[in-house]
Amino acid sequence: MKYNQETRLPRPSVHGTGASVPIPQEEDLRALLAKGKTKPAVELAREIHKRCGWPETEVLLVDAYAARIRSLLKTGLKEEAKALFELVHKRYSSAAARLADVGVLVSASSGNLEELLRPLNDPAVLPEIRRAIACVVKGQVCDLSALAECRSLTADHPLRTAAAALLRAFAAVTAGPVEESALLLPEVSHRGPLASWKILVRAIAYFYQQDDAACERSLGIIDPDSAPARLIPALRTMLHTNTGQRLAPAAESLMALVCGSKVSLRRALQALDSAFQTKVQDKILPEIQRAVTACEVAYPQLLERLRQYISVRALDLDLPTRKVRAALGGASIKNAYFWRLYARSAESSDEALELLICAQWEQFRRHAVAEGWFAEKGSEAAALYLHMAELLLEVPAKTLERQRSKFTARFSGFQDYYEDQPPVIREVQAKYKKSDLYFLSPSQLFERACAIDPHREAFERWLNWAKQESDGRVADHVAELWHRALPLHSQPLLYLMESAEKRGALNRATAFLAQAQKLDAVNPEVRRAALRLLVAQTGRHLQQRKPHLVEQDVAALEALPQAQVADRPAFLAALRWAGAVVRGDAELASSFFGQIGRVLGSSAAAILACENAGALGRLTRADFDRHVPQVSLDPADSLVVATARVCALGDDLGAPFTIPTAWHARLCQELTNAHGELERWQLEMLGKAALRTNQKELAYRASAAGLEMGGDQEARFLLLRARALPEWEFERRDDCIAATVELGRRCGDMAIINEAIELRRGHRNTMTKFLDWLVSEDWQDFSMTTEQIHAVLQHEKHSRAFPSGRHAPLRVPFRETVFLDDKELEKDDEPCALDDSNQLVPEMGQPREKRPKRIRRDLPGQGDLF
């Protein structure tokens, strides 16, 4: 009473202003409450109220007591909280309204639901009390049945009907599949204190329907302060989205009942995966032990497979074998499954040695055959041999040879792996001789593959590999085997024909061609081969100085329809010109020369065509000089255009034109300014011809002219650029190759993709199958985004000058997403002035006596025409 009287003192106002005086230390008190320091807050509030005795200070004191009571409840001191509440409620008049919600909490702490809910029956109950009760129901009431049967509420009270409906729905969703209608629950308000229960019921239904995404969505909208939120960690663990959190015993028990012990295994496997990512032995080994134990309990039939995966990963990380075995509870079984995993793991490793991978695949093959995965001579075995051969082809030939000799000397088999293995596994290992290292030889692998499953792709790959061997007989042998195994294929016959032609065995070559024509006369390759063989035969007769046979050959050539296409008639006329030269018939030679000029429309091209035919027939310089008329060249008659045209023609007919190195500078200059004068294919042939004589700068400029033209042939000129770059520009070359592959892939040009891959490998012309390439690591190496391709193209288009030295600025490959801006690129440009076209004349044949000494045309990269 004393306090109440004191409280009634009015709060004074500031003299002259009418405003109330401030409450002393109010800020300090609020700060203490904000920090949760309720005991000193109460003491300070009491002191302030004692000093002032104003209604405002009483409110402050009651608020401090309310905070103190909440704090006591939170720490479990229910009796103390109740006593303090009753004392404050009795002593302060303002307490009834301000402590309404605290009173509800005190009632709830006794656990008496009836008592808690009773105020709801009073229509005049304060809104604060109603809200406080709703808050307690939402956050603390877990017993739906008690709520549904609460006698202090009327039977039709919304809380009771909602709880009853939820109870039925909860029982239904946890007992079996339910219909959607059972989840609607119209009795439960979306804004009521039981709304989160409604969402939980739906989440459980989705969980059992295996609709994990919907379940997770529902869990995400449950109020985290509500009672049903306590089930969220357990549900998320069962959904596999929560791996780290430790669960209470009831939640663990729920998971064991619902998911069996497999959920523990799943968590152990996830933990082991995480441990492997750390690569720390001390973290990995205990997790291995846990995973194995969990697997033994939950899924014993999976244990061996799990051990094999763990073994392979441990081998990959070079973990100590003994310790891993101890953690695994024994060695994993080294059967086909293990060896396949081990080989695949090695294939995806950056430091893998291809020979070792092949040895691992061989172990797989042995066990797979023994275990009945496939037959020793089944198509699967053939596919495996081919795969192994392809692996070996990844290694440059010289490196492979070096590695093979080291490997053969050091490799002692996989004996260590067979310790503690069951007899059935050891028997497989014992069956094979250690010395049988056939898997180190691409030739033997191809041979085995083709013997078991002879088909075009296998032979094609073998032949392409054999073509790279220095001994030409290897490729001949492969082609013969191919022809024997698949006699209806024309491809090996064409190769044998070409090979015989190169050796000068024209009769034999003709016989092979005849066989190919019998098989497939309309095949364009066969038709082209016929043309080329006849050209070669003509060249031989020219060399033998047999003009009558030359005439017969050319007549036979003319009879071929394919000889009348494009510039080919000009080359036939050039052969006739060479025949006339051999015969010493100057008039006839002059007539043919004129005919060539008319077909080609250029005197320069006519001279070069005669040069090419003369080189084919090994005419002497004197013969040539005598029979090429002294023509005055049109100043506009470009040497580069003529050269490109003759290069293309020679390449087409199997008489490749050798560009004299003496012309190099002039051709480079002309090419720089030959805008639009050359067709794309001519530029490409010119570039290829330049590369034959190692004139990389000329090839480079041809690629620049081609790239400048843009269009769908950019990939071809990027590849030409890659070939033309100096050795030390290897990163730039790799970028060009990668961009070529990506462009080729986008327009479906398999030929260019294969050329690019082979260039990368250091081989040429191997026709790898697209599918195999797709699954090979090459695919990963060559991947480029559109932006990266564009950047490479821009860079190469701007880099018109041939790289002149090793002092170029440091360059980072485009695939590392560094892009140079155009201004930087422009610095590389090097303007070239075209010399007077009249300067061409001395080298085109007019003052012939001044020409450099003739050398043999079959020595690439040296001097003049012959």
């Binding site: 969980f207 306590r230 009831a250 995966y309 990959d316 695949r344």
Partner: protein
């Protein structure tokens, strides 16, 4: 021509429901049956999966290649668990409510 996706994450045999030793004829029958069950106009995504699986299995050479290259030693270890390990047993409400009651 559309290039089939050889690097299927799932086992194509499992998709078509054929045993490991199934031959060409069995694979083809299983494929046709699956296409009937999941026609492209009604279930295009499932049909794509089925067709990709068949593309891998129909050619013995590609089938073999898949056998060698499908193993992924770096796949998450939980992928070893079969789909049946996802089974969820109905337990009634009590174990669930026990979690809510636990302090």
């Amino acid at each position: 021509m559309r290039q089939p996706n050889i690097q299927l994450n799932e086992d194509p045999r499992e998709i078509l429901g054929v045993p490991p030793d199934a031959g060409d004829e069995r694979i083809r029958d299983a494929y046709l049956q699956k296409v009937k069950e999941h026609p492209p106009d009604r279930e295009p995504a499932t049909f794509e999966r089925i067709r990709d699986a068949y593309e891998v299995l129909r050619d013995p050479r590609r089938r073999a290649l898949h056998m060698f290259l499908s193993a992924d030693p770096r796949a998450p270890l939980v992928s070893l668990l079969p789909a049946s390990s996802q089974e969820r047993k109905f337990t009634g409400g009590d174990p669930w409510l026990a979690v809510l009651r636990e302090k």
